[in-house]
């Protein structure tokens, strides 16, 4: 049914879109955009939002046991921020014509993924510090370039999130410094947590560039600004001196500065483990999704009640007129 006239229009629309991207201008919600661009964005933003929400669980695990009231307040505020970040992101996704309820459903039925880092357990309070330092640190490296994402609402949400995220990282690092200056047990806890979270943190940047088929297109569209390997290298380079300052050992015997490259060399993460966790077979996948389902299920009557009350109020208002 596509006539020559509409084909031309289609081309023109496409050209307009391409020009916007080339001029490094932002694409806004009501602009025409290729369906692939929209699909990619919806998938990426939703996955990002889900990660914030699921990511509340490993840290939330320690709120009721935080060992000082100051740490408890920080942790509670941090986990609350993550709920907020999830909301900013769902809000950005909704400008693309999807509904949050629909995305929640896709998370609960596992049709959409979240960052596999959150499928690891938090076993000691040092994990709270290491998550702030390494996991939030990796997230920042991933996310800062997204502030310049070609899609306006996503970029704006990321600006807000990155500002708050930098704080999260610092509180984590500060906790670890305090612990490293504490008792022997505390120092051991920090080393143990670092050993456990280092590799999963490196995996947060996704598979190596050779196995990341969508990267090129995402970069052309201005959604992504750097490749996975570039970001991973940036993270390693910035983390090594932080580890030294802290006095912890990063668990990679291959980690050594390469003066020729001007970067640290490091070993390959276990990509088989990455794939296993991504496919659902990490230590906490089932538990994380089940908690989310449970909250959604248990809360259904509350959401229904609020909607029913609003509808009644609307009718009453109309009747009163």
């Amino acid at each position: 049914m596509v006539g020559t006239e509409s084909a031309t229009v289609d081309e023109q629309l496409h050209e307009h879109f391409t020009r916007t991207i080339e001029r490094d201008q932002r694409v806004e919600p009501r602009d025409w955009m290729p369906s692939g661009y929209r699909r990619t964005l919806v998938r990426q933003i939703a996955q990002h939002a889900h990660s914030e929400i699921i990511g509340m669980q490993p840290e939330g695990n320690w709120i009721t046991r935080a060992p000082s009231l100051r740490r408890k307040a920080i942790l509670l505020a941090k986990v609350q921020d993550e709920a907020g970040h999830g909301l900013y992101l769902y809000s950005a996704a909704e400008t693309l014509g999807v509904d949050r309820a629909e995305l929640t459903d896709k998370l609960l039925t596992q049709k959409q993924k979240y960052s596999s880092i959150f499928n690891y357990p938090t076993l000691t309070f040092a994990d709270i510090g290491v998550i702030g330092w390494l996991v939030d640190g990796a997230a920042i490296v991933n996310q800062v370039p997204l502030c310049r994402c070609s899609y306006g609402p996503y970029g704006r949400a990321m600006v807000r999130i990155c500002k708050e995220e930098s704080f999260h990282q610092r509180q984590g690092y500060e906790l670890l410094m305090t612990m490293m200056n504490g008792t022997r047990r505390q120092r051991e806890m920090v080393q143990d947590a670092t050993d456990r979270w280092w590799w999963p943190s490196l995996m947060m940047f996704g598979p190596p560039d050779g196995d990341s088929p969508n990267t090129r297109q995402s970069m052309e569209w201005g959604i992504k600004r750097h490749t996975n390997d570039e970001l991973r290298q940036k993270f390693v380079d910035m983390t090594v001196p932080q580890a030294e300052a802290l006095g912890v050992r990063l668990p990679d015997s291959g980690l050594v500065y390469n003066p020729e490259r001007g970067h640290y060399d490091f070993s390959e993460p276990d990509w088989d483990e990455f794939r296993r966790v991504l496919e659902g077979n990490g230590p906490c996948n089932a538990q994380r999704i089940e908690r989310r389902r449970e909250a959604h299920r248990d809360g259904a009557w509350v959401r229904e009640a609020a909607a029913a009350h609003a509808a009644k109020q609307q009718r009453r208002g109309r009747a009163a007129v």
Partner: protein
């Protein structure tokens, strides 16, 4: 923002540093800037204990509310409940710090929160009740915040400048908490048949603990005479009126209940609690007690 180095870009000094973190970084000294001298003629030990009473109420309820994290029915309410828990935690920290400072025995907010046993906690029993469902949460929060708002409102005139300052800050916060609970009570009461039942059951669970809120400990009476504390007994009519207004709007009738018993007249304020508190403290204190030498 510079984007060449991701890390530098986000750690660049920003003039509006506070906006980076939901609640600012002001976690260090909750009583910064307040005159902390104990006015002459005020019984120090009594004042310290009174601060524990109000501080423990806030600490224990904050704990229960924080249990909602990752369990709320919708993300917006996840944020709201965490806000309330944080406000109460902030109040607890100021009050426990005041208790420690007034007692002057080298303790601090953490030694009081983490190294006292069940019998030494002075909170009312209402705040210990298990989390329950959202109907219970709303009923409990409405009852608690209505009572606490009445108390804090009077306490802004306390002869102790710290209590007055804590109360002044708390009034704003608890007004918001009460508003949140009241609006949800109306939604649940008016919403569906099921939600009305859940709200009703929530009230049935918490109302037996209301009488205790208005039964002053002898210390509260004594300190009220010194115009340091508030005697809650005369506040009951005000409390009843607020509850009545909310329930009428919600179309809910408050269940008739018998107040839960006491042990020879003693309850939470005396350190006589429900069995729930022990488990709550076991969880809250486990890590801190596991390595008492540690600093966090």
């Amino acid at each position: 923002m510079s984007f060449d180095n991701a890390y530098e870009a986000v750690t660049e000094a920003q003039p509006d540093g506070d906006t980076r973190w939901a609640f600012g970084t002001g976690f260090v000294d909750p009583l910064d800037g307040v005159d902390t001298t104990v006015p002459s003629g005020v019984d120090r030990e009594g004042l310290a204990t009174y601060c524990l009473m109000l501080g423990d109420d806030a600490l224990v309820l904050s704990h229960r509310l924080s249990e909602w994290t990752t369990r709320a029915h919708e993300l917006e309410d996840e944020v709201a409940l965490a806000n309330i828990a944080l406000d109460l935690l902030g109040q607890a920290r100021m009050l426990l710090s005041r208790a420690a400072a007034v007692a002057g025995d080298g303790g601090d907010e953490d030694s009081l929160a983490y190294f006292r046993d069940e019998r030494e906690f002075r909170n009312v029993r209402l705040v210990e009740l298990p989390r329950g469902d959202f109907g219970r949460c709303v009923a409990g929060l409405l009852v608690f915040s209505t009572w606490r708002l009445a108390v804090l409102g009077r306490l802004t005139h306390s002869a102790d400048p710290v209590l007055a300052a804590v109360a002044a800050k708390g009034v704003k916060e608890v007004t918001y908490h009460r508003d949140y609970a009241a609006r949800w009570a109306v939604r649940l009461g008016d919403g569906t048949e099921y939600s009305a039942r859940r709200l009703h059951q929530g009230f049935a669970d918490v109302l037996p603990f209301v009488a205790e809120l208005f039964t002053p400990h002898e210390l509260e009476r004594e300190l009220a005479r010194q115009e340091v504390a508030v005697d809650p007994a005369p506040l009951r009519p005000e409390f009843d009126e607020v509850l009545h207004t909310v329930c009428t709007t919600a179309g809910t009738e408050l269940p008739e209940v018998t107040p839960v018993g006491t042990l020879a007249g003693e309850a939470g304020r005396h350190g006589v609690h429900t069995e729930h508190l022990g488990y709550l403290l076991a969880e809250m204190q486990s890590l801190a007690r596991g390595d008492p030498e540690a600093r966090w």
